[in-house]
């Protein structure tokens, strides 16, 4: 039984799909990377899992969580707001884009961690609370001094660590990290990614890592799902997707990365921009930007298993030589 199963998730804005049918499953302890350009529905998918979408976005489809130790599955799509309050952070927590703004400026870090624990375990005693906060801070490489600091007194990397400590406060089974390293310099990026990988090993966390940076995902994740215009266009084991992409979009994304030690030259970007959800092209949504587009692409390609363990939404898959 998967930890999280998403079936046919759609999110509409004014009748137009922002997320147009996403199916995903995450096993306990697995790290899934969600890749794609800005505006392709990665964050919207994450917020739908937490049922935190703004009121203008209407979700449909089913999202089922099977938290370890729970007697029955949690049907997130059917939960009320009150019901979700019990699930949020307890089973699924979120590391936000930009920790600076996600921490309340008027409270110390330890008070904010205490808040999270108290919300779900109101009967925790003061001594235990203090011990757990100290433990969490130590886990992410911070000290008690940082716990007594206000967010503005910490550096960007420390704040992101504090945010991760906060995400672990209620020992969730699944952590969703939405661009956790985007605001950091490369050194801090590497440290935060190492931290996430280590925590996953030590605590057996499942992780959904959202990033536009394929290199970041390749390093941290077991499996990769590439999103384009609200759909998953390719999924498979991270290493395999990297080695032999099965969708032109993934191929082009990888080509747009300059290779270290490789041929010197200008990176090869994808021309154009993802389609506006209010004016999406017919058939394959990547068609207008795809160098391989043909007449068949006017029909919408299904996300099908093209190789063992590999799925691609391209009529021409499997691709062997590009």
């Amino acid at each position: 039984m998967s930890l999280l199963e998403i079936e046919g998730l759609q999110v509409h804005h004014q009748g137009r799909p922002i997320v147009a049918g996403v199916d995903l499953a995450i096993e306990p302890g697995e790290a899934l990377g969600l890749a794609g350009e800005s505006g392709c529905g990665k964050t919207t998918t994450a917020l739908a899992i937490m049922k935190l979408l703004p009121p203008a976005l209407i979700p449909s489809g089913s999202i089922t969580l099977n938290p370890p130790g729970a007697e029955e599955p949690v049907k997130i799509d059917r939960r009320t707001e009150r019901g979700m309050q019990l699930v949020r952070w307890r089973h699924v927590s979120l590391v936000f884009q930009g920790a600076m703004n996600a921490l309340d400026p008027v409270f110390r870090i330890d008070a904010q961690i205490a808040e999270a624990i108290r919300l779900h375990e109101p009967r925790v005693g003061r001594a235990e609370l203090r011990a757990r906060i100290a433990d969490l801070l130590r886990t992410v490489g911070l000290s008690a001094v940082h716990g007594r600091s206000y967010p503005h007194q910490l550096s960007g990397g420390q704040r992101q660590r504090a945010m991760i400590a906060l995400a672990l406060a209620c020992r969730p089974a699944l952590v969703i990290a939405d661009e956790p390293t985007t605001a950091l310099d490369v050194i801090m990026q590497a440290q935060v990614l190492d931290l996430l990988a280590r925590l996953r090993r030590e605590l057996g966390l499942a992780l959904i890592l959202i990033s536009h940076d394929l290199a970041v995902l390749a390093e941290t994740c077991d499996r990769l799902a590439v999103m384009y215009a609200g759909r998953i266009v390719e999924s498979g084991p991270a290493a395999a997707v990297f080695a032999a992409p099965q969708h032109p979009y993934t191929k082009r994304l990888l080509d747009s990365l300059p290779a270290i030690g490789g041929r010197r030259g200008v990176a090869d970007p994808i021309p154009g921009a993802p389609p506006d959800p209010h004016d999406a092209p017919e058939g394959c949504t990547f068609r207008p930007r795809c160098p391989y587009a043909a007449d068949v692409c006017l029909r919408e390609p299904p996300l099908a298993e093209v190789l063992p363990g590999r799925r691609s939404a391209c009529h021409f898959a499997p691709w062997e030589n590009w």
């Binding site: 937490m50 935190l52 009150r82 979700m84 309050q85 019990l86 699930v87 949020r88 952070w89 307890r90 927590s93 979120l94 936000f96 884009q97 930009g98 703004n101 996600a102 921490l103 309340d104 400026p105 008027v106 409270f107 808040e115 999270a116 919300l119 779900h120």
Partner: protein, 276 residues
């Protein structure tokens, strides 16, 4: 508080307000004579035995002035607290929940904003029996709308901040988010605004008392003005009867206004340079 003390204006305002609060607390003990005691020395000018002269019934004006500070301060602060609590509650509810709740509250608020405050207070005070409590209630209930409006606009920006979304992701309820995240972040603004309301409330108390709608059993500066006016002090040239309470009201309101202004400058980073 340290930053308020670092500016000259802040120090001055705080010193004046502290002095008046001190008088309000200990005025009755400091008063050299019984402020209600009548004597045969009617409407006499300042002298050794009566520092600020006497009233039309021969009571000591200086003693009345000291005792009267209490009503002004008590009414001013209590009414401001009522106004702040009401305004904050209304502003938080409307700003946070938005939609139809906000629209209804907004309409109600507009209504309170456009009704001239003094006539409304006069009517309310007339309807109810004049007493200190009624005075506080009437002033409080007529002055919250501005605070409500300011708090609402602050809440509108606060609720879009990422930490509010994070709090919701924590599994926090609306009530928890308002109490633990929105309110603490809006508190400095509410505080600065309340200080300014104190000044307005003190003026309102003086106005109502001057119109004879104050508490008839307690001495206040407004009542002194009214007594002096009805006793014909201005035409009799008895300046010592009406100038001191008028001056006290002016200085206190000025100092509180200044204090609120300094607070506002400290809390609004865009105004901070102007303080230097």
């Amino acid at each position: 508080m340290n930053r308020v003390l670092s500016s000259k204006r802040g120090r001055f305002a705080l010193a004046v307000v502290t002095l008046f609060v001190f008088v309000a607390v200990f005025g009755a003990l400091l008063a050299p004579q019984d402020p209600e005691a009548s004597s045969t020395e009617v409407l006499e000018g300042p002298s050794g035995s009566h520092l600020l002269g006497t009233t039309e019934v021969g009571a000591d004006v200086f003693s009345q002035l000291l005792v009267g500070a209490r009503v002004s301060i008590v009414v001013g602060f209590s009414a401001a607290v009522i106004s702040a609590v009401l305004g904050a509650a209304v502003g938080l509810t409307g700003g946070y929940f938005g939609g139809i709740t906000d629209k209804l509250i907004d309409a109600f608020e507009n209504w309170f904003l456009v009704i001239p405050q003094l006539p409304l207070m006069v009517v309310l005070a007339r309807l109810l029996n004049p007493s200190l409590g009624v005075l506080i209630f009437v002033i409080g209930i007529t002055s919250w709308a501005g605070t409500g409006r300011i708090v609402r606009s602050q809440v509108l920006t606060l609720k879009e901040r990422a930490f509010v979304e994070r709090a919701r992701a924590l599994g926090a309820s609306d009530w928890h988010i308002i109490r633990r995240h929105i309110l603490p972040n809006a508190l400095p603004l509410i505080f600065a605004n309340t200080v300014l309301i104190v000044a307005v409330a003190i003026l309102a108390e003086a106005s109502l008392s001057f119109l004879g709608l104050g508490d008839p059993t307690s001495i206040s500066w407004g009542r002194m003005l009214e007594d002096g006016f009805s006793a014909g002090a201005p035409s009799a040239g008895a300046w010592w009867y009406m100038v001191p309470p008028g001056l006290c009201i002016t200085v206190l309101v000025f100092a509180i206004g200044l204090l609120g202004y300094v607070f506002e400058q400290q809390l609004n980073p865009r105004l901070q340079e102007a303080v230097e």
